[in-house]
């Protein structure tokens, strides 16, 4: 199932993730009149606090791009209703922390209505939200992806590059199941790259090997991908060859690619910014251990957030980075 990123022979433009996602929504809305956007401040002139929806209300009208009251429960609830009514809503929840306010609609309704109706309805909605240390402290920074991975019925997607953000968001919007598309505050505008100007789709549930290696497999996603690649670079200088897998989709999860890689390298580290305790890494480590226990040269290691709210002061560090990953790899490779 692995896809390696091949250069795409198409017209491209330099884009940040925010611009790439804007392009994804623009193309999707032009193609499918049932796509409706909802969220706080998403209409022009502001076009969303992260500018992902800039220009879209001007182009498609405020019937289809609705700036809502500050009311997360009814934003996601209205998205559920729109989806039941034959539309493909895309709701923006400014920060992942605010999903707590909408979790009834997402967890109890969006995720369960197909099941509870015996398959007679589907809820094809996408919720876009943002994680990562915003520097505003503990209520605007949490990475809560594990909460939603733990809820059967929601797909959970996190991109690490502008092109993948465009391709994965497009797939979410056209998917027939509810999708939570999690963006990262530090990746919205940095890491610009050449992105195809036309439609890009990346199938959900396909990981990408971002760097090939033979000594250890680093399994990561979203914002941890850039610093995992940076750590791999550092490790290479020490003669350690790290393979870096970007999961891209947490639900469904491409375990096939993970297990194939770890069976070659015989060592694995899971790296993410979410709290390590009961984080996505716990599930991934458990799956690797269940499948490959006899083939491992070392226990599966995890690099994740400290068990603490995200602190404000710069001297307090709850989110890991490249140095933590380098240390973890050295520990399990004995170097």
């Amino acid at each position: 199932m692995t896809t390696r990123l091949e250069p795409i022979a198409a017209e491209t433009k330099t884009m940040s993730a925010a611009v790439a996602m804007n392009s994804a929504l623009d193309l999707a809305m032009a193609k499918d009149p049932t796509i409706v956007l909802l969220g706080e401040d998403i209409a022009d002139p502001i076009g969303g606090v992260f500018k992902v929806t800039k220009g879209l209300s001007t182009k498609y009208g405020t019937d289809r791009v609705r700036a809502t009251p500050i009311a997360e429960q009814s934003i996601v609830g209205a998205a559920v209703g729109l989806a039941l009514g034959g539309y493909r809503p895309v709701a923006e929840i400014m920060f992942c922390d605010f999903l707590t306010l909408a979790s009834d609609q997402l967890v109890n309704h969006a995720a369960k209505l197909r099941y509870m109706s015996g398959g007679s309805v589907s809820v094809p909605l996408t919720v876009r939200t943002v994680v990562g240390n915003s520097r505003f402290g503990a209520q605007h920074s949490q990475s809560l992806e594990a909460w939603f991975m733990h809820t059967p019925g929601i797909k959970v997607v996190m991109a690490s590059t502008p092109t993948e953000a465009k391709g994965l968001l497009t797939s979410c919007v056209f998917d027939d199941d509810p999708c939570l598309f999690i963006e990262h505050i530090h990746l919205e505008y940095t890491n610009k790259e050449e992105v195809p100007t036309g439609e890009v789709t990346i199938p959900l549930g396909q990981a990408a090997i971002k760097r090939a290696g033979s000594d250890v497999t680093v399994i990561t996603y979203g914002p941890a991908v850039p610093w995992s690649l940076q750590a791999a670079e550092t490790l290479a200088e020490d003669g350690i060859s790290a393979e870096v897998i970007d999961l891209r989709t947490l639900v469904p999860m491409d375990l096939e690619t993970v297990l194939e890689s770890v069976s070659r390298t015989r060592r694995a580290v899971v790296a993410h910014e979410a709290t390590s305790f009961c984080g996505p890494g716990a599930e991934i480590a458990a799956r690797i251990t269940e499948e490959l226990f006899g083939e491992l040269d070392a226990p599966v290691a995890r690099v994740g957030g400290v068990y603490a709210p995200i602190p404000f002061a710069k001297s307090l560090r709850a989110i890991p980075g490249a140095d933590d990953l380098v240390a973890a790899v050295r520990r399990i490779t004995g170097q």
Binding site: V36, D63, R64, R66, T68, P69, A71, Q73, S74, V76, G77, A78, A79, V80, G81, L82, A83, L84, G85, G86, Y87, P89, D104, Q105, N108, H109, L113, R114, Y115, M116, S117, G118, G119, S120, V121, S122, P152, G153, K155, D176, D177, G205, V251, P252, M253, L255
Partner: protein, 339 residues
């Protein structure tokens, strides 16, 4: 109680077919409710059943006022709504038993009766959560531009939860074609109205969001029909959302098996005197609108429909254990991989 003069005053009336349909819905709901409670007490239903006794008039009127294409969002106290919206009784009852021929293949259960084909688009087991969903369906209806109405029913207890405020505000802001139907049965689970709010005038509260709001006697089927007809006409013609509070009384416990000894006996006795179905029958005959013989036929039809539905439901098989993996996602394979 609010004005009950509607019923005897001159004014518009439903057609004879509609009057008979309303009576059938009320009798069927009353009988099916009693039978479901009996089954729950006998341990033959998997879970408690939330009775609807006291709300039959509101449900029946809503059923004839809404068109098949109109959508309804209901709650766990949904039997009357489901019958009124035209969900087949056999599918409802099989679902109460958790059987494969249930409207949701046994996966939803009584709290989550759902039949999109009949326009019962969603029901929720979470108090108040239906209102934002109805707002979303209202946006869909508004974008469709075909005059569809979305009705949402909820109890008075739901007026305390944030979803109520958020959804009413959104619906008024965007003039969504949503009919808010508050089935005020005077009890929020086991707490009386006076025990949970200092602002019991829900219609007033609704009006303050910027929408038309009324308070109607929910024991009076004709008053209910008139209020709902006017509301739906206004909504369909683009007038924006309407809120109607129907004053009723919960004639049984919160669940069929729950303690109900705390209810003031005189209050309950007064409410029982207004039991919707028998009073409606007496009035229809008294006014010469439908003959007693004709209503006997309607009753017999309701009795046999209920008897047939319960014998069908109880005899249906349970879903195959393998169906636990179906309908989590559109693609079953993803679920098997994650299980």
């Amino acid at each position: 109680m609010t004005d009950t003069a509607h019923r005897t005053a001159t004014g518009a009336l439903p057609s004879v077919a509609e009057l008979e349909r309303m009576y059938w819905v009320m009798v069927t709901t009353t009988l099916a409710d009693a039978r479901a409670q009996q089954e729950a007490k006998a341990g033959r239903l998997q879970a408690a059943f939330y009775p609807v006794r006291g709300m039959e008039a509101v449900c029946a009127a809503l059923g004839v006022v809404l068109q098949p294409r109109d959508r309804l969002v209901s709650t766990y106290r949904n039997l009357g709504d489901a019958v009124a919206k035209g969900v087949p009784l056999k599918s409802i009852v099989a679902e109460l038993y958790g059987r494969v021929d249930g409207v949701s293949k046994g996966k939803g259960g009584p709290m989550h009766l759902q039949d999109d084909a009949a326009g019962l688009t969603a029901t929720t087991g979470v108090v108040g959560s239906g209102l934002p969903i109805a707002a979303g369906l209202g946006i869909a209806a508004q974008l469709d531009g075909d005059g569809k109405v979305v009705a949402v029913t909820f109890g008075d207890g739901a007026t305390s939860i944030g979803a109520f405020h958020e959804a009413m505000n959104m619906a008024a802001l965007w003039r969504l074609p949503v009919l808010f139907v508050c089935q005020n049965n005077q009890w929020a689970e086991h707490t009386p109205l006076a025990g949970y709010t200092a602002a019991p005038e829900f219609a007033q509260r609704a009006a303050s969001y910027g929408m038309t709001a009324h308070k109607i006697d929910g024991f009076d089927p004709i008053a209910c029909w008139r209020a709902l007809s006017a509301a739906v006409r206004s909504i369909r013609s683009g007038g924006g959302p309407v809120f109607v509070e129907f004053e009723t009384y919960r004639l049984t416990g919160h669940t069929g098996t729950a303690d109900y000894s705390y209810v003031p006996k005189d209050e309950l006795a007064r409410a029982l005197e207004r039991d919707p179905a028998p009073n409606f029958r007496a009035w229809l005959v008294g006014q010469g609108l439908v003959t007693a013989e004709r209503l006997d036929v309607v009753e017999r039809d309701a009795e046999s429909a209920v008897a047939e539905a319960f014998s069908f439901g109880a005899s249906c098989p349970q879903p195959d254990p393998d169906q636990v993996y179906d309908d989590v996602f559109a693609d079953r394979k993803l679920v098997l991989d994650l299980s």
